[in-house]
Amino acid sequence: MEIINQLVANGLVIGLTYTLFALGVTLIFGILGMINFAHGEFYMLGAFGSYILQQELGLNYFQSGIVTIVIICLIAWLIEKFTLRSLLATDHLNSLLATFGLSIVLLNLVAIAYGTTPRQISSPFNGVVHIGNVFITQQKIVVVLLGIVVIVLLNLFIKHSHLGKLMRAVSQNSMGAMVSGISIKRIYSFTFIFGVSLATLAGILIGPTTYVTPTMGTSVMLKGFVIVILGGLGSVPGAIIGGMLLGFVETGASSLVGNSWKDIIGYVILILVLLVRPQGIFGFQRRSQ
């Protein structure tokens, strides 16, 4: 079967795309104990931001990407400071609803301001590379390479850096962390902004492979959920394995059974995993607090 190489390449690209997105969701859940429903909208803002900066200020792909991440981080910081921080102390449902509302507000603000016509981010990586009988766009190669770099750096950061250790401490036992003098609020704030910046980066990287619309985050968010639940809520290796697994399962289902079956098969696998391991592949039971 000569298409097998192409399918492996497709699966790798889709898997890393999903992983890049899911990492932020899982990080924020792992530390803040909250699902960020607006994660898809930050992904959309990443793509939209770089498009707007390219159009309005004439920045190139790299400049617009960096400026977008800075701006979105600022917005995330404000949101965290003025809404989530006080809500996190109350029932978890409140912060969950707040991010859900945030997602609706962000999506519609962009739709009102810029309309729903699809747009395109220009990127210098617009060529196509042929490797044997495999066709892959340069942008997708960038997604794969940068995706791997982000995964490696994130793991090193969490395992070895001081901040990473603090994050793990808060994740494992927030009360204990607080007692030993860690400022939980700061860690919450940092994690939220860090998670959002990962979503933004994903939007900037993946944006040029498709079109930019205000609703582009909604369907990605759904996949993000599936991956994070599959891999285990709050687990970084879980998001990586879950993302890659879903990417390859979808590719396999699409080519072996039919494209319209790929979501069904993906969700059936999710249900099967949850039946055997309700906490997800890499999930752990949180210590009751």
Partner: protein, 382 residues
């Protein structure tokens, strides 16, 4: 408290009196003064772009007719627009408002079939109702003689284009990628039916996609391995069609004939798909380079007014007002709907898209084959 009740009662009384006065005073429809034509279109919401494009065409027609001295011995056209937001229930409210309180002489518009399905009975047997864009065949069933439709149905488009593909383009094998919706399923079913004979092209592979998808490399990889002569794309969304053609190009579909289901080709899609759009063959009711006098005049007037070239929606909007006015002129009345309908049905009309006839209210527009060359949509020539 008492005072408040009294005031409320007074207010209600005044309102009722006012309403009575208006209805007894209201002139209703008459054969003098401006002719009021209502246009109910989605001006906000998901189909806002199409609604606005249609409205631009309608406004231009009213302006051109008025600048030319109006119809029926100098009566001018007044266009009353209402926004249905693509919602059937809102469409009904707006229809009622235009008919009962604004007392329009004719009503036009409709982009979403669901809206026209709901509004058709509101106007039934009351006044001229020209359905502008909506495509569902059922809109014209159970018809009074005052209901007309300008756009063609998917069945009409499909039949003509399937025949064109089989007889002119002659691919031996075709791979189909279609949206997993009523439209996508129906188009594929019609294609299979119209190509049932032995000498027709063979459909060797079919893939469906979901409207939420953005990456089509997997289904396209599979279709590519079928090695068909042609790839037939059935999709209505601009961003999806352009993504499919772009990604097919990136996957090396270069020697495959690129076909797109009729009615879906437009300049925005071609612009987004870039190189991937080059050589697409499709068909549509209208294209702004059609060579006839009326089209030249229409395109020039449109460009002057809006600084862009008109496409199908603008042309249909233009026709909706133009035909209504011209038929009233012909019938010598703005309210004798029997005469106006008869005038519409009995004439060979000139339109920017060419000569046009109505049969049982349906405009018998034929799709013309189109192709993409140098990033532009142009009529297809062998």
């Amino acid at each position: 408290m008492r005072k408040r009740i009294l005031t409320t009662l007074m207010l209600v009384l005044v309102l009722i009196l006012g309403a009575c006065a208006q209805s007894s005073n209201g002139t209703g429809k008459n054969e003098s003064g401006n002719i009021k034509i209502g246009a109910v279109l989605p001006l906000t919401g998901p189909a806002a772009l199409y609604g606005q494009q249609t409205l631009d065409g309608a406004k231009l027609a009213a302006k051109m007719i008025n600048d030319d001295g109006g119809i029926l011995k100098g009566r001018k056209i007044t266009l009353l627009t209402e926004d249905d937001q693509s919602k059937p229930e809102l469409g009904v409210t707006k229809f009622k408002k235009l008919i009962e309180s604004d007392k329009v002489d004719a009503i036009t518009g409709g982009v979403n079939s669901s809206v026209n399905m709901a509004t058709k009975d509101v106007a039934k047997n009351k006044l001229l109702n020209v359905v502008t864009v909506s495509k569902a065949p059922e809109i014209m069933s159970d018809r009074d003689s005052f209901r007309f439709r300008l756009n063609s149905t998917n069945d009409m488009d499909g039949k003509a284009f399937h025949k064109f593909m089989a007889e002119q383009l002659k691919p031996k094998t075709v791979a189909v990628i279609a949206e997993n919706t009523d439209y996508g399923q129906a188009e594929l079913k019609a294609l299979k039916k119209n190509w049932s004979g032995n000498d027709n092209p063979k459909i060797v592979a079919t893939e469906f996609f979901d409207l939420a998808e953005t990456d089509f490399t997997n289904p396209l990889t599979k279709l590519k391995s079928a090695n068909a002569d042609a790839l037939y794309v059935v999709g209505a969304a601009i961003e999806i069609n352009s993504a499919i053609f772009k990604q097919a190009h990136q996957l090396g579909f270069n020697n495959t004939m690129k076909l797109l289901a009729p009615g879906n080709i437009n300049s925005k899609m071609v612009e987004l798909a870039g190189e991937g759009a080059e050589g697409i063959i499709s068909a549509d009711l209208y294209q702004n380079t059609i060579d006839n006098e009326m089209n030249k005049e229409f395109v020039a007037a449109f460009e002057k007014e809006y600084n862009r070239k008109p496409e199908k929606m603008e042309m249909l909007g233009f026709e909706s007002i133009w035909f209504v006015a011209k038929a009233m002129d012909k019938a010598g009345s703005s309210t004798d709907y029997k005469a106006i309908s008869k005038a519409l049905e009995s004439e060979d009309w000139k339109s920017p898209r060419g000569d046009l006839k109505f049969e049982d209210g349906q405009a018998l527009g034929e799709v013309i084959p189109l192709t993409v060359k140098g990033g532009k949509v142009i009529p297809y020539q062998q």
